[in-house]
Symmetry: C2
Subunit: 386 residues, 2 copies
């Protein structure tokens, strides 16, 4: 298989910007303020302000979706966003913001709480996917845009795309919901729960200094464990078999290097272990454990239909044209979950298209280089047809 998208950063250099608000009343009724939103834009807003596309990131994403940041790093969906790409910055004004509760510039657990003068940490209030969307709506209005041409996102971003279509029907012309669900399965809840418990096992003992523009981060080794659990669920068994199999990092099958002293810890010996170790470690450098806790709770709580499980009445007021995409190898958010969304939209006679993409890379297929051409073709066509 191909690696995660190599990105060419063809949009060029971008800077993260910030919008400040007095605050927001959360779904729980709690007032959170002041509120800052980190965002980036790519492309030019048309005179009619009718070409805006809002990008919605997944759990670990941030505002930097495309182009190159000050350190020359390409955005997380640079392969999809740029001149001539699937989301064409020559045509569209693309907005990408860090979600509420994040740790990349938008108000979240690492932010300083005015009342205490200290970071919120775990005293950050409960947030929901709906709160994230309401904050995005404030940003969109702040940018002078009344109606978005499109909202698009995968995984948690797909949940947000659904919330957008439901909560702000008059503000969304179309929505692309990728590898998402109307509500997380108990299995998904269980994996998130175990990840958070790993964090509680080894909470941060100290705070990192802040990078410029960002707040501090709290990071214990448990965060790496949580990330590794996540990564297993994002990959398909097929991809793991093809990419790693049972290959050892250093030795042949007859020369296991394993040994532990009394207090020893092991190094990843199988390639799959080493890969996960790397993913966990690099995540620790860029994420905050309390943001991880708050965002996974928001994902767990997400349940568009509520207890009775019927999505149909929830979708009644949707005006947007909907495109729902799933991946054949996604076992975390399987195609059956996308189909539940599609059927409820059809029952309400909404304009909905559905494609199951036959890609072997699991839940993360929308981020994998090899999947980008297929996604590009479908999403470009949909955006043009709206």
């Amino acid at each position: 298989m191909k690696e995660y998208a190599d990105s060419d950063g063809s949009y060029g250099h971008v800077s993260t910007q910030f919008a400040d608000f007095e605050g927001i009343v959360l779904e729980s009724g709690v007032f959170l303020g002041p509120l800052r939103v980190a965002y980036e834009t790519y492309g030019t807003l048309s005179p009619g302000k009718d070409n805006a596309v809002l990008i919605l990131h997944a759990l670990s994403g941030d505002a930097h979706a495309a182009g190159l940041d000050a350190d020359g790093r390409a955005g997380w969906w640079d392969a999809m966003i740029g001149p001539g790409k699937g989301i064409d910055t020559d045509k569209y004004f693309v907005i990408s913001s860090n979600c509420l509760g994040g740790c990349k510039g938008t108000t979240g657990p690492p932010s300083i709480c005015e009342a205490t003068g200290k970071p919120y940490g775990r005293s950050f209030p409960l947030i929901t996917i709906g709160d994230m969307v309401n904050v995005q709506a404030m940003l969109v209005k702040e940018l002078g845009i009344e109606k978005l041409h499109n909202v698009i996102g995968g995984s948690m971003g797909g949940m947000q795309a659904l919330e957008w279509a439901v909560r702000h029907p008059d503000m969304v012309r179309s929505a692309v919901v990728i590898a998402a669900t109307g509500r997380l399965s108990p299995q998904g809840i269980a994996f998130n729960w175990v990840g958070r418990n790993a964090i509680y096992c080894d909470p941060a003992s100290a705070c990192n200094d802040s990078s410029p523009g960002y707040d501090y981060q709290r990071v214990g080794k448990g965060l790496a464990v949580a990330r590794m659990i996540g990564h297993i669920t994002y990959l398909s068994e097929e991809t793991m078999e093809a990419k790693f199999g049972r290959k050892l990092r250093l030795k042949d099958m007859n020369g296991y290097s394993y040994s532990l002293g009394e207090n020893g810890k092991e190094d990843g010996e199988f390639e799959v272990e080493s890969y996960l170790q790397h993913q966990g470690s690099s995540f620790m450098r860029r994420f905050d454990e309390d943001s991880y806790i708050m965002i996974t709770k928001a994902i767990d709580y997400f349940d568009l239909a509520g207890p009775d499980g019927d999505l149909t009445p929830v979708f009644r007021n949707i005006e947007a044209k909907m495109l729902v995409l799933s991946f054949s190898s996604d076992w975390l958010y399987p195609t059956s979950m996308s189909l539940a969304i599609v059927r409820a939209l059809q029952a309400e006679k909404k304009h909905v298209s559905f494609v199951e993409l036959d890609l072997p890379y699991g839940h993360d297929s929308f981020l994998v280089n090899a999947g980008i051409p297929m996604l590009t073709r479908i999403i470009r066509g949909f955006l043009e047809g709206v």
Copy 2:
């Protein structure tokens, strides 16, 4: 769904016994000694010593497979083993031992190392599934038995059943391999790796006192996290949906109880979280984290075919009649893994039967009450037909 097997303990009270040996040369070449094996027996050995059935436990099992212990607790497979049950103690002399590296009486990390006078802990040598089987063979010979009527086990016990048939062809008349594999998938390796890393995050800070007959246990909260990860993989998504869904433990969907203080930790709020929390906590009371590390490493290393992946030559010398069972809902050790074993046995023209049981309870189906009648019918018939 039904709960894990309610057991009636109909075999009556049993005591764990111990067999002591000078030691064993492990596959790694290291000598481990002295060596103690904890075991139980049920039923009576026939005069011809030809009715012995060896029970092989999974990762978290122990020697107490049937009947009632001193505290009145039924064995882990009591629903299968007893008078008139699937493995009928009126007909068979049933032996069950704690595996090498365990923490329930057989030499393992909690045992005192003679050289240091202290528990081995993580300095316990690397062990393999083959080593476990070799220790079992020493016990069987010690009991005066030259040939076992049958060896039977699920999950790691199934790996041992395969090793038995391969390593000791002259000692095994038949073998039942349940929900097992010739080698663990990279996904399985990955889950074990993450579980061990959770343990490394919060290692035991102190040792528990020993229970009578057992050695001390080292237990940090990471062990509970590791166990919770395991539990998710042992259950099917279907079972989780049926058993828990998105039900909350205390409140309705509009009344989430979630809140965390600065150093707060959350309690399980969804039923699936609460269930896992309970499983993790009870595991901490009965298991040792270093045993967990050593045994999962042995499972990871298990690879009967070796690097070239061809099981056929490995199976050439097998004499036992083989029964391979898989569960339709087992995504950790799926039917395809059992079929790989079956095909290689067929290629060598061995006597092999295969059944995929259509049970919805995932990998753990062989331990679930509702699956016992089906297992009983199949296994009783197989044991009688040998």
